[in-house]
Amino acid sequence: MNITAELVDYLAGLSRLEVQEGDRQAMTAELERILAYMDVLERLDTQGVEPMSHVFPVKNVLREDEVIPSQAREELLAGSPAPDGEAFLVPKTVE
């Protein structure tokens, strides 16, 4: 797998990260080396093997739809870097 600086920038954009100028080359080389190693998996025959997301056959985990007290608003807002007592404040998103 050939990892380019452009691909790293594309992935960073999807991840809401910036790869700094000075780090881009090192990050590109590291990702390339790690992904090259992961190509080991190509040697494993998985013809007809169903991808497994969960080891137990647990499905349809449902619960009764009951009204229960939720976390107090002021407690949830207390952890925010910019609360205003009622909501999370963010920069203006609509001009």
């Binding site: 809401r16 790690i34 992904l35 992961m38 997301s53 080891v55 647990v58 449902l62 920069p91």
Partner: protein, 500 residues
């Protein structure tokens, strides 16, 4: 009576008999933290006042205590949410975040009368194998302060080894309880996936994360697991117990009898030695110590069975693909809006996200987010992510086959003993490869334990890993208990951080 030499169960017994007060025990632990943690950096937050206050309150109820661990001081890895107490995941991005609720595991411990001393150092977001990626600086190994305690639950292992509390709660996504337990000479167990609630455990890779204890011995691990394990409807992957009315499909678990099951009788147990786990890349001293452990178990009446485990080379790539994919999704919630830290300068909302995340996450976390984003991205999903999920199925089937032939597997925990600080940071791929013996267990959702089984020529502890089938915690702990009845490796204590 030297409190530090007691196990958690022994201390719990002494508290119940009135030989030690809970305040005395808590004060002794806090004194040890004050004396040694400057060198070890095992704690991120010490909650001394809270601990003493809680100790006083608990003392009034000693007579009615129904948990054998009532009043025993312990500590929590800093990725477990604690109401009103800073929970950082060892990351800058969480800042001084103090959650508004306790994790499910923390609630259960509180009900059993645990006294928490504080929150333990770890790799940032549990991503690492040495506890060096912590924003709060590396934790150090009490056997050699120039070496890593392992990771990601490195602070937990270092604290228990150094006597800073009688047990600790960690989490294990790819070996993060077992490997630091091995490097620090303590006993740690990762239970079957779904048996301990992950509610309030800050997620790294949700399909692999599991909470478990690091302790002085296997009996303490059994006692702590009896407290931790149980159904929690707030975690949809939590499995129902035998008496739970909730039921749909899937297995039911017989919760809560692990301590009672420790007979030490392992006669006739078939213990498998996967030859692939003793091949190239394994340090000679580690191999010798683990093989010697096998002989000790044989001496107690177990039968040793050699078998092959050819899927081993696929475990590390499958693990890192799945773990990074889930991490890239889980960590998208850290955006500088809802909790924690926000960058100071930004231009608009998208830039607020970017700047906060770029400045708030460390390099290893960013690397894994980028890897995860890559393996999930259009065009690469089938070749990497889907392939890894198929490899997971193949690895689980290989374990199923192995457990047809034997009751437990015995392997090394890690290829070497504890590395020098700095060695792993410079080479991430090498660090990933060092997880080779532990990650397949998480992929298959199995329980596995690390127990001290010797020292290498440098005086560093070596760990042996016992792996069981799903819900095989009882068999694993009993085998470890049998081993610890024959050996005293688990009783050795390090000097690191001791005031001269």
């Amino acid at each position: 009576m030297v409190l530090r030499e007691l196990t958690a169960l022994e201390l719990g017994g002494a508290i119940k008999r009135g030989q030690v007060s809970i305040v005395e025990a808590a004060q002794a632990a806090l004194d040890a933290v004050a004396a040694r943690d400057g060198a070890l950096n095992a704690f991120i937050t010490v909650t001394g006042e809270r601990a003493l206050e809680r100790a006083q309150q608990l003392q009034a109820g000693v007579k009615d205590a129904d948990s054998p661990l009532y009043g025993v001081p312990m500590a929590l890895k800093d990725n477990l949410c604690t109401r009103g107490v800073k929970t950082s995941c060892a990351s800058k991005i969480l800042g001084d975040f103090a959650p508004p609720y306790d994790a499910g595991a923390v609630e259960r411990l509180a009900r059993a009368g645990a006294v928490s001393l504080g929150k333990l150092n770890m790799d940032e977001f549990a991503m690492g194998s040495t506890s060096e990626t912590s924003f709060y600086g590396p934790a150090r190994n009490p056997w050699d302060l120039d070496r890593a305690p392992g990771g990601s639950s490195g602070g937990a292992a270092a604290a228990v080894a150094a006597g800073l509390g009688w047990y600790a709660i960690g989490s294990d996504t790819g070996g993060s309880i077992r490997q630091p337990a091995s490097f620090c000479g303590v006993t740690g167990i990762k239970p079957t996936y779904g048996t301990v609630s992950r509610y309030g455990l800050i997620a790294y890779a949700s399909s692999l994360d599991q909470i478990g204890p690091l302790c002085r011995d296997a009996a303490d691990c059994a006692a702590v697991l009896d407290v931790l394990m149980g159904r929690d409807p707030r975690d949809a992957t939590s499995l129902p117990g035998l008496r739970d009315s909730w039921s749909d499909s899937g297995p039911r678990v017989d919760y809560g009898h692990l301590l009672d099951g420790l007979t030490g009788d392992i006669r006739g147990r078939r213990i498998g030695l996967p030859t692939d786990c003793f091949g190239d890349g394994l340090d000679g001293a580690v191999r010798a110590a683990v093989m010697q452990a096998a002989e000790v178990l044989k001496g107690r009446g177990a039968e040793l069975v050699e078998l092959s485990f050819p899927v081993l080379p696929y475990a590390v790539p499958a693990y890192y693909i799945i773990a990074c994919a889930e991490a890239s999704s889980n960590l998208s919630r850290f955006d500088g809006v809802k909790y924690g830290w926000r960058a100071e300068k930004y231009d608009g909302l998208a830039d607020l996200y970017r700047k906060t995340r770029t400045q708030g996450f460390g390099p290893e976390v960013k690397r894994r987010i980028l890897l995860g984003t890559f393996v999930l991205s259009s065009g690469y999903y089938d070749a990497y992510y889907k392939k890894a999920l198929q490899a997971k199925a193949v690895i689980k089937a290989a374990f199923d086959g192995a457990f047809q032939r034997c009751d437990l597997l015995l392997t090394p925990v890690a290829p070497t003993t504890a590395p020098r600080l700095g060695e792993s940071l410079s080479d991430p791929l090498k660090m990933y490869l060092s997880d080779i013996y532990t990650v397949s267990v998480n992929l298959a959702g199995l329980p596995a334990l690390s127990m001290p089984c010797g020292f290498d020529g440098k005086g560093l502890p070596i760990g042996a890993q016992l792996i069981g089938p799903h819900f095989g915690e009882g068999a694993i702990l009993n085998a470890a208990h049998a081993f610890q009845l024959e050996t005293d490796w688990h009783k050795r204590t390090p000097k690191g951080g001791d005031p001269a």
